[in-house]
Symmetry: C2
Subunit: 245 residues, 2 copies
């Protein structure tokens, strides 16, 4: 199984800065096959180079005169388009739905392309007609106009994330492991003893509830061993201070 | 249950263009609470206005002198940061993991803020220390440097999508409903009859396989009624043409 990376096709892009921002967004996501169909201001472009923050050096850029040539080797072509244009009888994907399909096609050795139209007006109807499917980014219905590099980033990120296994939440306690239950109970037990000596629990009836609340906040902190030790030291310091005349 | 929209806090942002692009990305995702801590080039900014593509008119922008003031009303603060800086003992979220938590906090009436550092160097350690948690965008490990508005877009989009129910693939056949099974079988039956008359099936032994393959491609097209009718018309035209002398 090859892992075919989809081609990114910018059709009649206008501003070099945007092409450069597109290249940067592509490389952020591990995409490297950039195809330009009739870039308005020519190629290469100093403005693109500067806006790419170094990414263009790692991107393979090819120039074409027609869209058909640019996608000649692709088995499936996805056209990005805003909601207002969808009058064609094609399936409409979210970026995530499209990304999953692209990976499935790559696993079957099938190359995909994703088309982006010019900044001013997007893909025209003849360009859309050359695609198999449409991708539309779900957005605030009152403001659906995406900068081209922003739209590209969302597609690229969806493609990257479809195969990415970063956990949604990674606990991170520096170099110290999590405090064990016994270490936390040692800390909490000592704290409660010192609090009792300091007259913190005036009513025996309320004490169990108060203790449960304190315990809840300390366990919620999910301390490391080092942090539990620091809290022990803080108790020692506070006791010593109180005892000073 | 209020639906609290998270505050977006740009700490020491440098370029007006980037602030404008951030505003555009925010509005794309339905975010409207933008807080700027010491913007380098002052505020308001013509460059920001122009780069926002009209979005700034719909965004509530507030200027602060310190980060602490900017997040004073927030119950939970998420700091965006690249991988290299994560030496603090805080949980690290993906944008999607963070977005789900923000919605859960909002459902409990808890306001969240998302911090973004300056373009050159991101958030410094003292700024990171004021946050409860970290958000890191999974990216190409060889090129993790995101433009600030691109990073913001990914956070905003994750927040929008966590509550969005757009189907991953929406079938779209224009105004015509899907062809029914009977309509498709009518088309296919007629096609096979005409093909037989044209001598398309030389070997009776292979005919069932050939028919199954043709049927597979026609069903895969998931035609509308109108498209099935068009195919009937195409058969008629092709027969007529063949019969011409």
């Amino acid at each position: 199984m090859k892992n075919l990376i989809p081609a990114i096709v910018l059709v009649r892009p206008q501003m070099g800065e945007n092409i450069g921002m597109c290249a940067r967004a592509m490389l952020n996501c591990g995409l490297t096959d950039l195809r330009l169909v009739n870039p308005r201001d020519g190629w290469p472009s100093d403005k693109a180079e500067s806006a790419s923050a170094g990414a263009l050096a790692h991107i393979n850029v090819t120039i074409y005169h027609t869209l058909a040539e640019a996608i000649a080797d692709c088995g499936h072509v996805y056209a990005t388009s805003g909601k207002s244009k969808q009058t064609l009888a094609k399936a409409i994907f979210t970026p995530e739905g499209c990304a999953n399909e692209i990976h499935a096609r790559a696993a079957a050795d099938e190359m995909s392309a994703i088309l982006f139209g010019c900044e001013r007006s997007g893909l025209d109807n003849d360009e859309l007609a050359q695609a198999h499917s449409i991708v539309t980014i779900p957005a605030n219905p009152d403001f659906t106009s995406f900068n081209i590099s922003q739209a590209l980033l969302l597609m690229g990120y969806a493609w990257l994330r479809a195969k990415d296994e970063t956990p949604a939440k990674l606990l991170h306690r520096g170099d110290s492991p999590a405090a064990t239950h016994a270490e936390m109970e040692n800390l909490i037990g000592r704290l409660f003893n010192e609090l009792e000596e300091g007259g913190f629990f005036p009513s025996p009836a309320l004490r169990p509830t108060t203790e449960r609340n304190i315990r809840a906040s300390l366990y919620r902190a999910e301390m490391s061993q080092q942090e539990a030790n620091t809290f022990q030291g803080m108790i020692t310091a506070l006791i010593g201070r109180k005892k000073r005349p």
